[in-house]
């Protein structure tokens, strides 16, 4: 029990993921700066941002909103991110095989942060936040089917098992799932799902700074916004880690494998960053079409290829 709490709060749950996520966010910003021929922020910038919001800024509540719900939503979002990190990382790094949640549970828990953004935005009582929330919800509907089909294909590749450590065991025996044509297609679709889940360009229509002033988050400030920032740092690390776990053979931390793990997650982060820096924002209906038709077709193609063991 005390040990589980430690897993949850310190390693590999909340604190560890938050730290790594903050570093990931710095890398993301640094690479973005390089793409744009700028110098980029110092290493500690994400921490400065977070602690400024936490310690210096005041929290302003929207006059016409539901204030308690507005404040509670970010808490639940952070909880969801911390739970997801614990459920994914504990079996993935091999600390505790088969811990308390399978791939379906993780699928559902990974939706919680986005859901709380929506509830928080709707509680704000600001029309621009409502626009953001509506777009976020439609985005969830769009990518959720693709994401599920990817996981179903992985379940099929792993011989109908749904726990992470069994999926990892299959990959250890037979090589990572990405080493096949179907695996590569799944990887591509997964990367786009992450992009949408994180709300990065081209799927950042829910916050669209230039258009609806950060949409879902427009009313958030101070401590409540600090929690949202933290949640987003964490998700930036958890989702690539999840991708590594289910497609790229896991996150082993012993000896030289640690280096591979770091390189794999950073590689995925680099892909995400480059996509977000080289694309324009799409409209919500375009995003829906992109996932409903093209990404689903891609995953179905991968599933069909998988039937022929390609």
């Amino acid at each position: 029990m005390a040990k589980d709490l430690l897993y949850y709060l310190i390693f590999p749950g909340f604190l560890f993921t938050a730290l790594v996520g903050a570093i990931f966010s710095w890398i993301d910003r640094k690479v973005t700066a390089w793409v744009q021929f700028r110098k980029g922020p110092p290493f500690l910038q994400p921490f400065y941002d977070f602690f400024k919001l936490l310690l210096v800024k005041e929290t302003i509540l929207p006059a016409r909103g539901s204030k308690m719900t507005f404040l509670f939503a970010p808490l639940l979002g952070l909880t969801g991110a911390a739970l997801a990190s614990m459920l994914i990382l504990l079996p993935a790094i091999g600390t505790k095989p088969g811990f308390n949640g399978d791939i379906i549970v993780i699928f559902y828990i990974l939706t919680i942060p986005s859901l709380t953004y929506i509830i928080g935005a709707l509680a704000a009582g600001n029309p621009l936040a409502s626009v953001g929330a509506s777009r976020e919800m439609k985005l969830i509907i769009s990518y959720e089917l693709t994401f599920l089909l990817i996981l179903a294909a992985i379940i099929m590749k792993a011989g109908m098992t749904i726990t992470i450590h069994e999926i990892l065991a299959v990959q250890t025996d037979e090589g990572a799932f990405i080493g096949s044509i179907s695996g590569i297609l799944l990887f591509i679709a997964f990367v786009f799902c992450i992009q949408a889940k994180l709300g990065l360009v081209p799927f950042d229509m829910a916050e669209a700074e230039t258009e609806i002033n950060h949409g879902s988050f427009i009313e958030y400030s101070g401590q409540a916004y600090a929690l949202i920032r933290l949640t987003r740092y964490m998700m930036l690390f958890i989702l690539p880690a999840f991708l590594c776990t289910v497609l790229l053979g896991g996150l082993r931390t012993d000896g030289i494998h640690l280096l591979w793990t770091v390189l794999k997650t950073l590689g995925i982060l680099l892909v995400l960053t480059l996509i977000r820096n080289t694309n324009p924002r799409v409209r919500i209906d375009q995003a829906m079409r992109f996932f409903f038709i093209w990404m689903n077709l891609l995953v179905i193609a991968a599933i069909i290829l998988d039937y022929f063991n390609l």
Binding site: G65, L78, G98, V105, M137, L148, I162, L227
Partner: protein
């Protein structure tokens, strides 16, 4: 000795869940309208007793029993009565683990609804004879569940069609149309079921569910199965026989919606479906495929319709349909995990769906408004209703760690296990899984609309004086919300082992889910979070007007949640389907109505009202009959 004790408990259960409610229901019809307070108290007292008796039956009887009514009830009068041997088969009780559980749930919901109705009916116009109908419904559904004989079951179950109709108490054109539609669809399903039962009687020579074990290999058995399945589908509300539910919930009062379509119809329909799929018939792969198809279609079609509704009671009605899809899918899987998941989902759905209807009733009685467009920002005025609705909404959308997630998780695992087999229905496992999961995402989407449309956002100026409803109304709702949390938290380590494993046998999970630990962690995080807010924001909270891009922030400025999903409605992919649905091309009732009217139109062309024409037809008919009899 133990047998004696069992039969005493059973006798009490029969007395308090069937006989006394039936008598009291009839007596209450006679009481004058003024004695409402007496009716309230009497109804609650009787439902408390029946709850207690049902609980005692549930807790104390351990094995499945098959006994005669006569040996229990008529024990003291044995000397006076002599039951003929032919009648004995109609007077047999089947009290296995599933029946006991469903009886307990029926009695429990009757109690909660009767308490709620006490508060509700003082707030709003009273449906005629609600108390009598509630008690009669309780009696008839308990009797239907106790019955082992299919004929007895259909007689009592058919009676529910009447109470369902009467509870609507139609008073305008819309509600009379809904009531008529309900009565016709339910009545037609009863007719089909009687046909199915007759076929069974012909094939097997018995109506006892415990003795029947038919395999669906020949056409006649398949027809019998389909007749009974259509009956269960219509009453529980599965595609394509679901169309009465949204109409009903839109016009009925909240207690009626929460009691029958949300709770009891599901309990009975899924109970019966489980019985016919696993006790009465051994179903083949083809039928399994059909059931799974219908389950998946029910989930998707109903939830897509829910997405675009403006009337929140109708929205809930479509969800009452959509959730049936999960149960049917679970039952149709046929594995232990699937059946347990389906039954667990049935229980969970009854809890949160009747909770949602009760919440809708609270909103309706506090505001008098039916449309999401006219509501908004009630979270502060009605905090208990808001928190309960939020819990129900998260639960129905399958957000962990609530109960809706636990049962969906079991069904998903059942589907994945199905994928290990080799039949056509096994190869399509990914389709069932995808439909079920996307259905749950769409449910979430439409409940975002429900919650934010009623409780979040800015408060409408017209709703400034709204107050929370009275405790008689919110207490049952709060209890249901606590059950949602409790069943979710202790799903895998207490609820499933103690409630479902006696019915289905031991369950082997292929996945992992420890809901208690996760709930504990969530609780700890929320406590830490509150502590964090208290420390970090000490004295620094400020309230300010929102910035909306430089525009003036007026009362009517807003982006209504009602219009959230217009993008989906207008997308190329779905636009034609919505258009067809609005023309009621998918409504069995409307289609058959059109067919019947067209055919009768054809015949009415022959009857122009001219006497000589009429005389000709009469003569032609007589000649035809004469020839027929002669040959």
């Amino acid at each position: 000795m133990e047998d004696n004790l069992t039969s005493i408990t059973l006798g009490h259960a029969l007395l308090f869940t069937v006989i006394i409610p039936a008598i009291a229901g009839l007596v209450l019809f006679a009481l004058p309208k003024k004695s409402n307070r007496i009716k309230d108290i009497l109804t609650i007292a009787i439902t408390v007793l029946s709850c207690f008796a049902a609980f005692k039956l549930y807790a104390s009887v351990q094995q499945a029993v098959l006994v005669g009514y006569c040996s229990i009830i008529l024990q003291p009068f044995k000397a006076w009565f002599q039951i003929p041997a032919e009648c004995a088969q109609y007077l047999t009780l089947n009290v296995d683990a599933m029946a006991r559980l469903i009886i307990l749930l029926v009695a429990g919901f009757s109690l909660l609804i009767s308490i709620y109705a006490t508060g509700y009916h003082h707030a709003e116009k009273k449906p005629k004879h609600f108390h009598s109908l509630l008690l009669l419904t309780l009696a008839a559904s308990s009797a239907a569940i106790f019955a082992d004989n299919l004929m007895v079951l259909i007689v009592f179950w058919g009676f529910l069609g009447f109470t369902l109709y009467a509870m609507l108490s139609p008073d305008d054109e819309q509600s009379s149309a809904a009531a008529k539609k309900t009565l016709i669809l339910i009545g037609a399903s009863d007719g089909l079921m009687i046909l199915g039962i007759a076929i069974i009687g012909k094939i097997a020579g018995t109506f006892s569910m415990a003795l029947l074990d038919l395999s669906t290999t020949n056409a006649l058995t398949v027809i019998a199965f389909l007749c009974l399945a259509i009956g269960a589908f219509t009453k529980a509300g599965a595609f394509p026989f679901h169309t009465w539910i949204p109409d009903y919930t839109q016009t009925a009062t909240a207690p009626a919606s929460a009691y029958l379509p949300a709770a009891l119809d599901k309990l009975l329909g899924i109970y019966f479906l489980t019985r016919i799929c696993h006790d009465v018939f051994q179903i083949s792969g083809g039928i399994r495929l059909t059931i799974l198809c219908l389950g998946a279609l029910t989930i998707i079609i109903a939830v897509m319709m829910a997405l675009i509704q403006h009337n929140y009671k109708r929205l809930l009605g479509y969800h009452a349909v959509s959730q049936v899809g999960y149960m049917i899918t679970g039952i149709g899987l046929g594995s232990v995990l699937g059946i347990a998941g389906g039954l667990f989902h049935m229980i969970n759905n009854a809890v949160y769906k009747s909770g949602l209807f009760l919440a809708a009733g609270c909103v309706k009685s506090a505001t008098g408004k039916d449309d999401l467009e006219e509501l908004g920002g009630l979270s502060k005025a009605m905090p208990v209703t808001f928190i309960c609705s939020l819990i129900f909404a998260l639960s129905i959308s399958g957000v962990p760690p609530l109960n809706g997630f636990a049962s969906k998780w079991m069904i998903y695992q059942g589907i994945i296990d199905l994928g290990k087999g080799t039949g056509p229905e096994n190869h399509l496992w990914m389709v069932w899984l995808a439909m079920a999961v996307i259905g749950s995402a769409l449910t979430l989407a439409s409940f975002v609309k429900f919650i934010s449309g009623i409780f979040l956002g800015r408060q409408k100026p017209a709703l400034g004086t709204i107050q929370e409803v009275n405790p008689l109304m919110w207490a049952p709702m709060l209890l249901l919300a606590l059950i949602c949390i409790g069943f979710g938290t202790f799903a895998t380590n207490w609820v499933i082992p103690s409630m479902l494993e006696p019915i289905t046998g031991n369950i082997h999970y292929s996945g992992l889910w420890n809901s208690s630990l996760i709930t504990l962690l969530i609780g700890i995080s929320l406590l830490l979070g509150i502590l964090f807010y208290v420390i970090a924001t000490s004295g620094k909270l400020r309230v300010a007007e929102s910035f909306i891009g430089g525009e003036t922030n007026r009362d009517e400025t807003g982006f209504e949640p009602v219009s959230f999903y217009e993008t989906i409605r207008n997308s190329l992919l779905f636009k034609p389907f919505y258009a067809w649905a609005e023309k009621k091309y998918f409504d069995v009732y409307e289609l058959s109505k059109k067919l019947v009217l067209d055919v009768s139109d054809l015949f009415s062309k022959a009857h122009t009202g001219i006497l000589s024409n009429l005389a000709f037809w009469v003569l032609a008919g007589l000649i035809f009959m004469f020839l027929f009899l002669l040959l």
